[in-house]
Homo-oligomer: 259 residues x 2
């Protein structure tokens, strides 16, 4: 008998998010699934970790036949505690995060709790995939892309990942028959044009609330944003080395040596 | 009369941190300084942003002759609100973040609020430098490296940055005469061996508290960790493109096209 592979599922929208339920539903058919997810929404948490207070984990009964835990921390905390406390004695074969409500394409990977959870798993040497659907609504249609997600997870479980351990997958907001396929892409260069809405609270104190509009400033043919605009699911192999190697020669003038 | 350049100073340890005071002290001599910093410590906040609640900013009188604001949000929020609310009508010539208490070399850049604030400024097209001292203690000696910091800020103010907009600067915990100089480096590959200390709170409920040990797994000669170990201040030109371009050819098998 072949042992089932262990798949850790997490997210940043919290353990009750429909996107998590959809991903668990897909993954259950492909391996043994365990869920460790935040007990509250953690959107925009980036790669935050909890170091100044304790974390709590509680076993919960949310998904049929799936061992599940809610965690008081951030998405990254969930992965750390899954790897180092809950499944310390077992090998996690794959970590999948999402399905996020909203895009994590282009520079949004930087702000994303969904992708940070997946990146944390990749730092722990676990192959990882973050999934995001370009639809913020609570009743977003996660079914339209389910066979693509299932196919991708199966391929990565069977073949592993070469030269990288993390995929950033974004899914266009389209009906099932409108999705054209999947494309391997590069992260598009983009920009948030931010605006803070100024308001007054009930005590007449001024507050500011972040809002903004995303602008693509990249016309390359192979970006994730281009693939999404063309009706494809984008897949960007991603890492954690932020060094700009090409900038090094020009910065040598900043070097000094004390004799 | 030559107009002074505008330098935005922020951090993640909060507006009362000694490292911020040290950085303001250095920057004051080099340009017009404004401070926008979190009103509470935000270590390990990564690139977190506040989207589900309002932000507050208050003008405070902490540093002599320096316009200063405390912000209720994360380090990234501080930069966003500085750029888009407080100094909307002015050009910020440089953003400096820190001086962080503790290392942000190697993969620690990923978790760092200090570096995320600087990265956010770089996304906003502002040249940025994050400074970190490899000393967690409250009475860390920020003076030992002050002339190097001053020199670096001056050079970047005068010459700008080429092919990158963000420098990750880490300073070894050494006495002034022991620091050997500055080196341009690549981000070292490293790893946290994590441990969660299990404890019981006063109500006898179990909690977990993150701790761990950092391990360098990179023997290249030009890494930030090597420079630091050799007594140099490390400078890594950093960006926000996480794509692993070399992995793309091997992942083409994940592509699909629906006819």
């Amino acid at each position: 008998m072949k042992l089932k592979k262990l798949i850790l599922v997490t997210n940043d929208d919290g353990i009750f998010a429909p996107g998590l339920k959809a991903l668990v539903g897909i993954a259950k058919k492909l391996g043994e699934v365990v869920v460790v997810a935040p007990n509250s929404p953690q959107s925009g948490m980036g790669h935050a970790i909890t170091i100044n207070q304790p974390l709590r984990i509680h076993k919960v009964q949310i998904f049929d036949d799936v061992e599940s835990y809610e965690c008081s921390g951030t998405p990254v905390d969930c992965v750390k505690i899954a790897k180092n406390v809950l499944f310390k004695e077992r090998t996690i074969d794959l970590c999948i995060s999402g399905i996020n409500h909203g895009s994590n394409a282009s520079i949004n990977i930087i702000y994303s709790g969904t992708m940070s959870a997946a990146m944390e798993a990749s730092l722990e040497k676990i192959p990882s995939i973050g999934f995001s659907l370009l639809d913020y609504s609570f009743d977003a249609d996660f079914d339209a892309s389910s066979h693509f997600i299932s196919d991708l997870i199966t391929k990565v479980l069977n073949n592993g990942l070469v030269n990288c351990r993390l995929l950033n997958v974004n899914i266009p907001k389209l009906r099932k028959k409108e999705i054209k396929g999947t494309k391997i892409c590069v992260q598009a260069e983009g920009n948030w044009i931010e605006e803070f809405k100024e308001g007054r609270d009930p005590r007449n104190e001024v507050y500011y609330w972040l809002t903004g509009q995303f602008v693509c400033i990249d016309d390359r043919e192979n970006t994730d944003l281009k693939a999404l605009a063309d009706g494809y699911i984008s897949i960007v192999p991603s890492g954690h080395d932020l060094t700009i190697h090409t900038a090094i020669p020009d910065l040598k003038y900043l070097e000094s040596h004390v004799e």
